[in-house]
């Protein structure tokens, strides 16, 4: 293990706190306090992942991100106090692999770091193998034949009902399913006040596959309409 992570933030205390959190998880941490330093340090081949703040002196995070991308292909997670949707979209479109808002949740941070590293190091093989019948959606990989769902390459343990729901949603990413339809297709019964039942199961699935179940990235509620599996690149 001992993968090296570059943490860039102009606030050294935040860098310190992140470093402690990550080091406890067994990672090695390099520290930088602005974009220029990040550009120098990212050349270290040991660096496997970069956590970078947006608002920094000398060279801001997004500009640094673009220039790092020119040199190295490695996962970059943007860490920003800007929590608007537009900020997230901007960051992701600039080439960030993930976006974490400040104040961050340490567990979520480590989970996302781990997830990115896993995808970067091990999942590449899966794509290379070209197993085309697999359904890949971001961190999730679903095998419709064996009904196995993998998150970051790790099999997720699901109950039969959960598996049915995941099967429905993974096969139709982006489509919105009303609770009644999910209930009918999963339970094969007429739906009557099924909202709670469906919601309970979805919440359980989320806890198994989402990095932060309270702010899910994959299974989302479309309020007033239904539920859907968010499509990720």
């Amino acid at each position: 293990m001992n993968e090296c992570i570059l943490v860039v933030d102009d606030d050294p205390e935040i860098v310190g706190a992140i470093a402690i959190t990550l080091e406890r998880e067994g990672y090695r941490v390099l520290r930088a306090c602005n974009g220029m330093e990040a550009l120098d340090l990212c050349l270290d081949p040991a660096v496997r992942l970069i956590l970078i703040d947006v608002m920094m002196p000398r060279l801001d995070g997004l500009s640094a991100l673009i220039r790092i991308r020119e040199k190295r292909n490695l996962p970059i997670i943007v860490l920003s106090a800007k929590s608007e949707d537009t900020d997230k979209i901007l960051g992701l479109s600039m080439g960030a692999d993930d976006y974490i808002t400040k104040p961050y949740n340490p567990q979520e941070l480590t989970a996302r770091v781990r997830s990115q590293l896993r995808r970067y190091t091990s999942l590449g093989d899966i794509h290379a193998e070209g197993r085309k019948h697999l359904i890949v959606n971001g961190r999730l990989t679903y095998d419709p034949d064996s009904l196995v769902l993998q998150a970051d390459g790790e099999a997720v343990r699901l109950t039969p009902t959960e598996t049915k729901i995941v099967d429905l949603l993974m096969r139709n990413p982006g489509r919105i399913f009303p609770a009644e339809e999910i209930y009918r297709r999963v339970w094969s019964e007429d739906a009557y006040s099924c909202e709670n039942t469906v919601m309970v199961h979805i919440r359980r699935i989320r806890e198994k596959i989402e990095l932060n179940p309270k702010e899910p990235d994959y299974i989302k509620v479309v309020w007033g309409i239904g539920y859907k599996m968010e499509q990720h690149g």
Binding site: A81, T86, K102, M199, W223
Partner: protein, 756 residues
């Protein structure tokens, strides 16, 4: 006072009187000589101009007046009075009277069979008309039937010697001795040069030894000189043919007394009038010449005169407009005095205008033609008054002129609009009702008939009233237009047009109001721009502040978390927990404050879509099932099975109901029921959440205001922004948020219009 003044090398205000000072002064002050010289020249030029124009205009006018008034050929053409028309008319008159004597009866040639075309124009001299003559003659004949009375009249006449006989010789009248018997063959007495003989119905005239051609082609017409019998179409009457008349006229006529003691001099007057006329024309010609000389002088000094003009203009500036107009009117009125055509017009007014309109028209034309030249002082007065006004306008700017009207129009706007309108309306009432009524009453009470000129003056009352009414109506129309523009502007401002001001004409009654409205509009514009700017700044500030808060908060949260992972003992563990909890709360508050400020500034991004409100409520309840189950509250849910479709942003609306349920969970009385119902009515969906508050609810508090909580303390969880966020998010999505409290019953209602 602009370039005109500046072009002068000296200030025009310096009084002109200095120029009139004696020349010695100028010699003493050497360097001021050019100035003084200039002043003198200016005065001279000005006087030359005034005198020249007055003399030329006066003399020409006087001559023109005399020519127009006199009728016939100009008098200056004849030097011999015996060659005037007046003389020939007198001779004809004399002859008529002498023939009357000879015939022993009263003769009137105007009654004979003459084709009477020219008689009208050439009959008489002294402005007495043709009709007058008939009347006078008939009067004469009735009062003195005996023609021999005429003999008494002519007996003492030294200007005309006569001898009247007839064939029977029983009639003989003469004012000369027989020794000096008048005959066409005898030599005329000393001093007499004109001889007329009427023999056998024919007239023979010898003047200065020359026999004149009396009858011309023998037909009497308008061009014939002598109105005496003997023409083919004007033969002598039967009783007259055998009368012989000899009359001799003195070269220089004299005045005399008749037998009745009346001083008379008919021939003398003809003579004297010609002399007077010749003297008059000569005098006017001299004056004209002098005037032309003055004008030439003025032309030579034309530049200098400008100085005088300017000085004069600076004096006349102080005369108000109304006196000027009065002066013009007075001059015009004065002009009508002394018009010789006036008496003719007055006399002709006895005849019906419509039957004799051509005669009338000729008289009126004559009157108007004579108007400018019949009263020369009035003409000169008018010319100079007008010139002064013109001069004033040439050198003084318009806005410097003062007038009563201007004063009133400046003063009037100081009064309120309704007061001005009241005055106008009252004036209109007086003009329209009282004025014509007064005219009618006056006409009736004075008993004026249409023949009287005052009757026509009375007609002026209704005419003035009508004119005034027209003016007032026009004013009202303009006012209506202005009011229309004004109300349109008010409407435009209400609709948000804050950039186009209303521009009413300078003299509009509502000008001030329009300006006031423009001020309000501009003020509103500024205030609105200011408000928008400050709102944006506020949002930016809050956005920046929340960002700035998040950075240290991140550190606090990170280290609090790390601290909790450390093996702490006793109180330290508690402290670490408390720090962590409060930091978490601070975090949610920062996010809430950020959201709410964005919503308040209408900058909250919303993604509106069609959704089922009932489903959204169910989802929300399912989502919050855990805390609901954990609470000691019973939720009574009443949602329709059918979809309740509205258009809103689902994520924001979820936040609204999440906050409401959280609010209920936090503040509802333990063990009580919470009612969540959704109803549709009148095109609206209303979701209401009712709960009984644990604490007594303060009355008269706006629960949607920021940081308001039922218990007024802030020791428990929650940012105090829950309801405020619910309210502003609902409104951002296009719904209505309402909170009602009755005693301890708390009701929150979210209303949305149903989607079509």
């Amino acid at each position: 006072m602009d370039t005109k003044w500046n072009s002068m090398d000296r200030a025009p205000e310096e009084p002109l009187e200095q120029a009139a000072e004696p020349i010695q002064d100028e010699v003493k002050e050497g360097d001021s000589v050019p100035k003084r010289g200039r002043h003198v020249k200016a005065v001279i030029a000005f006087l030359a101009f005034v005198l020249g124009v007055s003399l030329v205009l006066g003399s020409l006018g006087a001559m023109a007046g005399r020519l127009i008034a006199q009728r016939g050929s100009p008098e200056w053409q004849v030097s011999d009075w015996q060659e005037t028309e007046a003389f020939r008319a007198e001779v004809a008159d004399y002859l008529q009277d002498f023939l009357s004597l000879g015939a022993g009866e009263h003769l009137n040639w105007y009654g004979t069979n003459v084709v009477q075309e020219g008689g009208y124009g050439s009959a008489r001299w002294y402005g007495v008309t043709y009709s007058d003559a008939i009347e006078a003659d008939s009067d004469f004949s009735s009062s003195s039937p005996v023609p021999s009375d005429k003999d008494l009249y002519y007996r003492n006449d030294k200007s005309v010697l006569y001898r009247v006989t007839n064939a029977k010789k029983d009639i003989y009248y003469s004012n000369v001795d027989d020794s000096q018997a008048l005959s066409i063959y005898n030599k005329l007495p000393e001093g007499y040069n004109f001889m007329l003989a009427f023999l056998h119905g024919k007239v023979t005239i010898v003047k200065d030894g020359q026999t004149l051609d009396v009858y011309g082609d023998g037909i009497y017409d308008a061009d014939s000189d002598w109105f005496v019998p003997g023409y083919e179409n004007f033969p002598a009457g039967e009783g007259v043919e055998d009368v012989s008349v000899y009359m001799a006229v003195r070269e220089t006529p004299l005045q005399y007394f008749t037998q009745n003691g009346v001083q008379t001099a008919r021939m003398y007057w003809v003579y004297e009038r010609l002399q007077e006329a010749r003297a008059f024309y000569f005098r006017q010609a001299v004056l004209l010449g002098v005037g032309v000389l003055f004008l030439l002088l003025w032309l030579a000094l034309r530049r200098e005169k400008r100085l005088a003009d300017q000085k004069l203009a600076s004096w006349t500036l102080h005369i108000w407009t109304e006196p000027r107009l009065l002066a013009v009117a007075a001059c015009l009125l004065w002009m009508t005095a002394g018009n010789p055509a006036a008496s003719e017009l007055a006399w002709a007014s006895r005849y019906d205008i419509f039957e004799n309109w051509d005669y009338w028209a000729s008289l009126v034309g004559r009157y108007l033609l004579l108007l400018p030249v019949s009263n020369i002082p009035a003409l000169l007065g008018l010319v100079w008054v007008l010139w002064l006004i013109h001069n004033d306008h040439r050198y003084n700017p318009r806005e410097k002129h003062r007038s009563l009207w201007r004063l009133i129009s400046i003063r009037l706007p100081r009064y309120t609009f309704q007061k001005r309108m009241n005055w106008l309306n009252r004036a209109a009432l007086v003009l329209i009702c009282v004025f014509p009524a007064a005219g009618v009453l006056l006409t009736i009470s004075l008993g004026l008939s249409p023949q009287h000129w005052l009757f026509w003056l009375m007609a002026a009352f209704p005419v003035i009233a009508a004119a005034a009414l027209l003016l007032i109506l026009r004013k009202h129309a303009a006012l209506a237009q202005d009011i229309g523009l004004l109300s349109g502007q008010v409407e435009a401002i209400r609709n948000g047009d804050l950039s186009t001001p209303l521009d009413l004409p300078e003299d509009a009654d509502l000008r001030q109001t329009a300006e006031a409205l423009n001020d309000i509009q501009a003020g509103l514009h500024t205030a609105l721009a200011e408000q928008t700017r400050s709102e944006r700044m506020k949002v930016e500030l809050v956005s920046n502040v929340s960002h700035d808060l998040k950075t240290p908060l991140t550190s606090i949260l990170s280290y609090a978390e790390l601290l909790r992972q450390e093996p702490l003992e006793g109180a330290a563990a508690d402290y670490a927990r408390i720090i962590d909890e409060k930091a978490q709360r601070l975090r949610s508050m920062v996010q809430d404050v950020f959201d709410i400020s964005k919503a308040a500034a209408d900058q909250l991004p919303v993604r509106l879509e069609r959704l089922d409100l009932a489903k959204l409520l169910r989802q929300t309840l399912a989502d919050m099932d855990d805390p609901i189950q954990a609470s000691h509250l019973t939720f009574k849910i009443d949602l329709p099975d059918a979809p309740v479709e509205i258009v809103a942003d689902g994520r924001r609306l979820y936040r609204v109901f999440q906050n409401l349920i959280q609010n209920a969970l936090q503040y509802a009385l333990e063990g009580s029921r919470v009612h969540l119902t959704l109803t549709t009515e009148a095109g609206k969906a209303a979701a209401s959440l009712r709960n009984v508050s644990r604490e007594e609810l303060p009355q008269g508090v706006d629960f949607t205001a920021r940081f308001v909580r039922g218990d007024a303390s802030r020791t428990d969880g929650g940012s105090g922004l829950g309801l405020s966020i619910a309210s502003s998010f609902t409104e951002a999505c296009g719904g209505e948020f309402r909170v009602e409290t009755v005693a301890d019953l708390f009701t929150a209602v979210v209303t949305f219009p149903l989607a079509d």
